[in-house]
Symmetry: C2
Subunit: 292 residues, 2 copies
């Protein structure tokens, strides 16, 4: 079967990029990874992927140091952290021909619009990942919860990307946020404290209210659902907490900053989101300036 996309590039080859890129590679797609760290290890050793359901190794992964070495592709998948979005133009432009499709899997809000402004809205697709993937060695990743997208991957197709992004934020804003702002705690600790769990609900209510002002209707019953499904996750470390604890940049602007700006522009009342954003921005800045 001929691929719809003869040549595919992954921009941003952290854990998420490697995971989805590996799934594409495994089903025979021609994927090249724009990879910075671990490039030589992956080139030499390939990549081992562990999930709760299986384990496989790709002996050969195409990796490149810069976009010009890859050249024009038919599909470019963006799995870059949003903190590096100022590099999108330089990283992506050499990968484009007239009909290249760009799929962004990035967190939060803002990337869809930034890509559309740079490369034209008609070629941009947005995707949301509901997975938990961590790098456990230079050539190994572990996926604790497998989720959406394609190529042998569970995938839901929605028809309102912005609404889906807000829906994902209903979880990310409180849980990624409180995990950091309350001192570096897992989701079970948030739920175990009546005050923090109440705060998570208040934040969810604010996010749903902001989404409503922007025309995206999310039922309030979604809050209970999210709390319940979080309960099943145990001592879960949200991705932002993983970044924070590792001393890496946290996606502050796309997860809290841009949603806050859009909420305020729409006239939504979001005092807790505003406060959470201010605290996270400061705490993460300090962390980068004085890691321990």
């Amino acid at each position: 079967m001929a691929s719809r996309f003869p040549r595919i590039a992954f921009v941003g080859s952290g854990a998420i990029g490697r995971y989805y890129g590996a799934l594409f590679t495994r089903v025979g797609e021609n994927v090249t990874f724009l990879m910075r760290s671990d490039r030589e290890a992956v080139r030499r050793l390939g990549l081992k992927v562990k999930t709760p359901y299986e384990e496989f190794t790709l002996a050969k992964m195409n990796v490149a140091e810069n976009s010009r070495d890859i050249g024009p592709c038919d599909l470019v998948v963006i799995a870059l952290k949003t903190t590096a979005n100022q590099q999108l133009d330089a990283l992506v432009r050499p990968l484009l021909h007239e009909k290249t499709v760009i799929l962004t899997l990035q967190n939060g809000l803002g990337s869809d619009e930034q890509l559309a402004a740079l490369f034209g809205a008609e070629r941009i697709l947005g995707g949301l990942c509901f997975v938990c993937v961590n790098r456990t060695a230079p050539n190994e990743i572990v996926c604790l919860e497998t989720g959406s997208v394609s190529a042998g991957v569970k995938c839901l197709v929605g028809d309102d990307l912005a609404a889906l992004r807000w829906k994902k934020l209903v979880w990310n804003i409180p849980f990624n946020g409180l995990a950091i702002a309350a001192g570096g705690i897992t989701t079970d600790v948030v739920l175990a404290s009546p005050d923090l769990a109440g705060l998570a609900r208040d934040l969810m209510t604010e996010v749903i209210g902001a989404a409503a002002k922007l025309g995206h209707s999310i039922p309030l019953s979604f809050i209970d659902q999210q709390i319940e499904s979080t309960r099943t996750m145990g001592a879960y470390k949200p991705s932002s907490l993983v970044d924070y604890l590792a001393g890496n940049e946290v996606e502050v602007d796309s997860i809290w900053g841009e949603p806050l700006r859009r909420a305020e522009r729409a006239g939504a009342r979001v005092p807790c989101l505003k406060m959470l954003h201010a605290l996270i921005a400061q705490v993460t800045k300090l962390r980068l300036s004085r890691p321990d």
Copy 2:
């Protein structure tokens, strides 16, 4: 001149208790300190007091290990941290006779009422300290900003203690709170961030609103005054931050918890105070459980 209070005891002999007790001792009052840490050093060496204006040493300080060794006094000054208030009954009762006056200099809300419930409201006086005193050696304290109370001390007498306590909280709630919740920062860092300074103003507005609901009128212009006077303090560490950084207990309940409960009971809207309390409670609990 015969003292109105022939025998005076200080309960809680941290930096604040030592400072005011020393001032009383210096003007000839008969003061005994109920002292836990540094007792032998102070007994042997006395106490050195440094302020921006002078430096003096008291060669002899009366210190005692427990209240029964002191016995009934005419004035009992409480400078205990509010985190130890469950010990008030045991510490204070042996110091009382029928007419003993009790003056509490403690932070935040709740101590006045707890003391009144234990020992009778008619003998309780409340005082507020606007000072910054730190222990710099077992027998030395440094006072960076001298403030109110009596015995050669600048002292303002107010006629509405509760209103004054709320007025003090207009500063303590945001600045002590954000110093901890934003990762351990001084007041100048709060003011340097437009987001955090805005949050401080939002919190002040909430506290003034709550005080108003409780019948204490504080003009909104007080906010600008407080911001401006904080600007002159430079890289100031609020007392709660000093406690937090030293790994000591923070007065979470009297500074944020009790004001929050009273505000909510009065029907005031205090979303930022509520959030700040939840975060500080968690962060300080973590700090005590895993000091570094």
